[in-house]
Symmetry: none
Subunit: 184 residues, 4 copies
Amino acid sequence: MPKIIENIEQKIFNAVVLLIRKHGYSAISMRMIASETGIAVGTLYNYYSDKEELTTTVVYLSWKESLKNLQRIIDQEGAPREKLHLFLEQLYEEISQRRGIGSELMKHDLYKDEKFLEIQVTYTNIFRSLLKELEKAEGKLFEEAHAIRIQKHFMLITINLVNEFIEEDGENVRYLKEIADKLI
Amino acid sequence: MPKIIENIEQKIFNAVVLLIRKHGYSAISMRMIASETGIAVGTLYNYYSDKEELTTTVVYLSWKESLKNLQRIIDQEGAPREKLHLFLEQLYEEISQRRGIGSELMKHDLYKDEKFLEIQVTYTNIFRSLLKELEKAEGKLFEEAHAIRIQKHFMLITINLVNEFIEEDGENVRYLKEIADKLI
Amino acid sequence: MPKIIENIEQKIFNAVVLLIRKHGYSAISMRMIASETGIAVGTLYNYYSDKEELTTTVVYLSWKESLKNLQRIIDQEGAPREKLHLFLEQLYEEISQRRGIGSELMKHDLYKDEKFLEIQVTYTNIFRSLLKELEKAEGKLFEEAHAIRIQKHFMLITINLVNEFIEEDGENVRYLKEIADKLI
Amino acid sequence: MPKIIENIEQKIFNAVVLLIRKHGYSAISMRMIASETGIAVGTLYNYYSDKEELTTTVVYLSWKESLKNLQRIIDQEGAPREKLHLFLEQLYEEISQRRGIGSELMKHDLYKDEKFLEIQVTYTNIFRSLLKELEKAEGKLFEEAHAIRIQKHFMLITINLVNEFIEEDGENVRYLKEIADKLI
DNA sequence: TATGAATGAGGATTCATTCAT
DNA sequence: TATGAATGAATCCTCATTCAT
């Protein structure tokens, strides 16, 4: 008995975010998504060609939203180091909000997907422009090989802080800024 | 006609390490393990109650071995900072050798397992004693909350370097030491 | 906003003929038919109660058209044996033109359908009148049981020649006439 | 609750023959086979890598058995024409016994399978040697293009006689011999 | 104790059919 | 009347687990 479902993509998005949080990315099945959304399995396939497309899209959109917020920090006026701190706060906030989804970007199998290359590149560009500002303002110089690792690891560390030192947000963010000031 | 299998656990360990390296943790099946070891599937269940216990045991043993090697570094004579560098080199080496196995510790589901708590604690203790030596030798002081995060993240970062910046071992190790000298 | 679709049945017929030719009878889906015709799936169900009715109707109409052409051969003036040859040429031509559709008559499930009984009967009558002419002209006599089998098998053989000895039309038609002259 | 199933391949063979007879080759599913045999789906996959392998093997074995019986006819002493008649009787008998299975060889999709090439070739060779004997004994000469078609069509026609003129075995076989004597 | 055939729930995916719009 | 999104049973296939041998 077909009915028109409103906001179907949003519904799927929310359900998958929830399910990833609850069971982990690789443990969720199409049936689970169907039952969580209240949408028939077949309907999911009207919107996504297969399971992979569905799940990667959710992770992708989640990160895209986060990156938009991070970009906003960079676009503000202000002292570079101040911005770096704000950036880390926001990064923590984003990953914190999306808990289980965050870590998926670090799993190797998702790297292959073109969509995630875009996410990686965008994230890198945002961080890079921040480093550039710092170089100019503070007369520093960051080697390429070093910079690329630093960027990646701030994401990695933030994900880990969120996942493992739960309910210690204050301490976590303070730690992030502290190591940032030492490393950058 | 039952036969006696010698060194069953060692055989299983070797086979699973090999299989994880070749196919990745989540792609290996009981059948694969059986065929790789030459032991019947049913027999595997005489030694491990289920697949999870088998695989987590292998990961556990693999890390236990690594930790023994790391402990050996600490037990040597030498300047603390020198030891820190050796420790990081060895950590990189261990994770590098066991590639696929190392990263499993990053996956959230393994954290729950009691066995891994032991690994975490042992690792932490090793690192902690290193920090203590440094505090004494260099007159520094590391806050608990800070120290625990630093320790965890060196493991995390090393795993990531091994997995993502493949065949850049020299650059990776140099980076590890560099950030260690800034952070510790 | 409903629109009036002209010549719906013709459109469907053309599309399905095309699709059977391209993908084979059992590989076509209602969606494919909808997309090929530009008519919505739901609309197809206003004209045919289910998929089977739709497809069998198409096969039925295709054969009906063929039979009309074959009848035309019989209605011409001319020597009976000459007509027999023309009949076989035309039969080959018809099946050749409708390739995938022709063979469906060979599949047992379509035999059950009442529509195909009509096709069988009409075909039989056409062939029968040809045999009658030959009996009269050449002083032969064909037993009923024999005649009915002969008729059926010329269709069968023609379908097989078209499907299996592709691009050997000349040889195929020559063979048809040759065995006809021996058998009839 | 695993038990040892005896004659599993024979059981599967029988069930599939039955199911093809009842529902047709392309209508049978793995579930149907499982439920008809009383064997779990998974078990079927211990014996055949996939559905296609299972079903084609059944058809293949069925024909292989038939061909053995046909070869036996050829190997006997006797007048060639007498043997031709015996051959046709046996061909009718074989196809009659295996009803639904017979026709599968004529469906185009099975032609691709290597196993069926072997069947086709063997059948052709048997028939060919019969024709050779006839050529020698009766001073006839059969063109290659003609012979190949004749061979194929005797199988086709026999299948059709069995399927459509049910319970008219006497008439059917008489017809077969009659057209054989005219065509060969 | 060791074996591995047997199990069957569960995986992703398809598609004829329905019905609110 | 025409639409096409929604449905869900059914498809093939996998694999951790069991247990008769």
